[in-house]
């Protein structure tokens, strides 16, 4: 098998696996890591994750498809999620969805032809006091009305928000660096066999 993770991400993946008493527990974190690298979860990544977790690619696929955030098909560079649940519904979230669909020229669940944007209807994102609530790649953004939504899309298209909105970046910016199993500071040095 050829390695799919970059050398740096492979090291990170192994560190993630080592955090858990059973390697299978690292499955979801590793899927996030693969998405941070590739933007989605491709077959090659799932093969390598299976190897790292001591399971089969089919198990990885079967598990990943249970979770809304894990994309086993390509998505846009920016996944825009608009919450339409109760508090956001009461604040006009469906009107915002309609506007977003017109602005981007795609329906919810679809990706623009240039691969820049995927639009998603989300469940409650726990940002209900600023309804309607919008996230891009799981970062909260202020885009609750048509004008600010358009401004956001313009900014994103010009690549001006890369710092703030990394690519599917749930695990990409900060990693656990201290007290890792095997290190001096770890309380689990002897615990793992």
């Amino acid at each position: 098998m050829t390695a799919h993770f970059s050398a740096e991400n492979r090291a990170r993946a192994e560190a993630l696996v080592a955090l858990y008493p059973q390697s299978r527990s690292a499955l979801v974190p590793l899927c996030h890591l693969a998405q941070a690298q590739d933007g989605w979860l491709c077959a090659e990544a799932m093969e390598e994750i299976a190897e790292l977790c001591g399971t089969t690619p089919a198990e990885v696929y079967g598990t990943a498809t249970f979770y809304d955030m894990l994309h086993t098909e390509r998505v846009g560079r920016h996944v825009i999620a608009i919450c339409t649940n109760i508090a956001c519904l009461l604040a006009g979230a469906y009107e915002l969805v309609e506007h977003a669909e017109r602005r981007l020229g795609v329906r919810c669940g679809q990706t623009t032809e240039d691969g820049e944007f995927t639009l998603e209807e989300a469940e409650c994102l726990a940002g209900c006091d600023a309804a309607p609530c919008v996230q891009v790649n799981h970062r909260f953004v202020a885009a609750g009305d048509a004008a600010s939504f358009d401004a956001l899309v313009d900014e994103l298209a010009k690549g001006r928000r890369r710092q703030e909105v990394p690519r599917h970046g749930v695990l990409c910016r900060i990693e656990r660096t201290v007290g890792l199993p095997g290190s001096e500071a770890s309380p689990r040095r002897q615990a793992r066999s």
């Binding site: 955090l19 858990y20 008493p21 059973q22 299978r24 527990s25 499955l27 979801v28 974190p29 899927c31 996030h32 079967g62 598990t63 990943a64 249970f66 979770y67 809304d68 955030m69 894990l70 339409t84 649940n85 109760i86 508090a87 519904l89 009461l90 006009g92 469906y94 009107e95 969805v97 309609e98 919810c108 469940e123 409650c124 994102l125 726990a126 940002g127 209900c128 006091d129 600023a130 309804a131 996230q135 790649n137 799981h138 970062r139 970046g169 749930v170 695990l171 910016r173 900060i174 990693e175 656990r176 660096t177 201290v178 007290g179 500071a185 770890s186 309380p187 689990r188 040095r189 615990a191």
Partner: protein, 443 residues
Amino acid sequence: MLTSAPRIVTSRLDHEDSYTLERYLATGGYKALHKALRMKPEAVAAEVNRANLLGRGGAGFPAGRKWSMLRAAETTYLVVNGDESEPATFKDHLLIERDPHQIIEGAAIAAYAVGARLAFIFCRGEFALGLERLTAACNEAYEHGALGGRIFGSTFSLDIVVHPGAGAYICGEETALLESLEGKRGFPRIKPPNFPAAIGLYGEPTVVNNVETISALPWIIQNGGDAFAALGAGTSTGTRLFALSGRVARPGWYELEMSKTTFRDLIFDPALGGGIADGGELKAFIPGGVSAPWLGPDSLEIGLDQEAVGRAGSMLGSGSVVVLDQTSCAVRAAWRITRFFWRESCGQCTPCREGGHWLEKILRRIEEGDGRFSDLDLLMDVCDNLAPGVSWPPEQTTICVLGSSIPSSVASALRMFREEFATHIRTEECPFAGAPHEMAGGR
């Protein structure tokens, strides 16, 4: 009544940098852990028992009692539930992003009390910033000596792993959460026998506590269980963090003394909710997350008290209150809540999987003007299949209580606003302004 109760879990949130170790230490952080480590583990648990701290995740089970139910074993795990996805609930999100050290300190205190040497903080995957803050705080805590081997020079060692979820409401249910933490699909386990206290993570006894429950522990250890129990009344002790949203002038979070503060205070006090948005009129409110039955304006005098809300036929649940006003369509609200449960059902149980789908379809057609009068009985019939008798608390026919929670909003809307359903059916349209002509489609 607004009381002078201290803010317990939100005490440092007025600081911009509340999430840093520096601010945490400057505001008394990690003193409680120092203190706890000088006590016997049983004494720490006794203090939490005296506080009568009720779990803040939804079920309201006393934390001290939960700890005492652990099966004795070589290995015990602690899992902090930060999956917060109950619609309109945003308190744990706040605590995770703004005070991660408080969660780490609380987790260390709990782990010490129950003898866990490895703890997990399960953080909802959509909280990307929250995950960063928790991870950074863990790094800082290790460097400070508050985590790792021989914490603060004691004999107690603890490792904490911050674990990301990946978008599934059901993983907030504690046994589904453990499955997810084991790297599997989030299917709730059958209880009995799989009570986490007996058979939890990797088959070992496990304590699962909510982020807010854990966040209250440093204060309780510092100030004593009696000081916590002196706040509130009856079994509803201490303060609680409420998330207020919907058609209210000042949506937001408010930490309030339990029991003594009422729903009227929360929604109408100028320092809190500030009344209905745009000077409107209160139509109904959902008192504890969308799993809870709705209450009407005649219930405003009820205190924010677990037992009192229970007696009124609902629950304080996850501590989130949603306000509906005269411009809010009851059918559309019930439809959207039902759509949520249908989408998030894990599909293991037939009543939940099929019943949720039926209810969603029927409510949608009523909202879109295609309903029939026979639909009203049909709705109640499906509800009865999900939770026989459609009473409160609901009868359970399913593996977890997601299924039996689905009827709450449907039955409430029908009981309180039957006329509104009839209008939709008679006039073949939604009588409220701004009805989207096309509500978003399938999954």
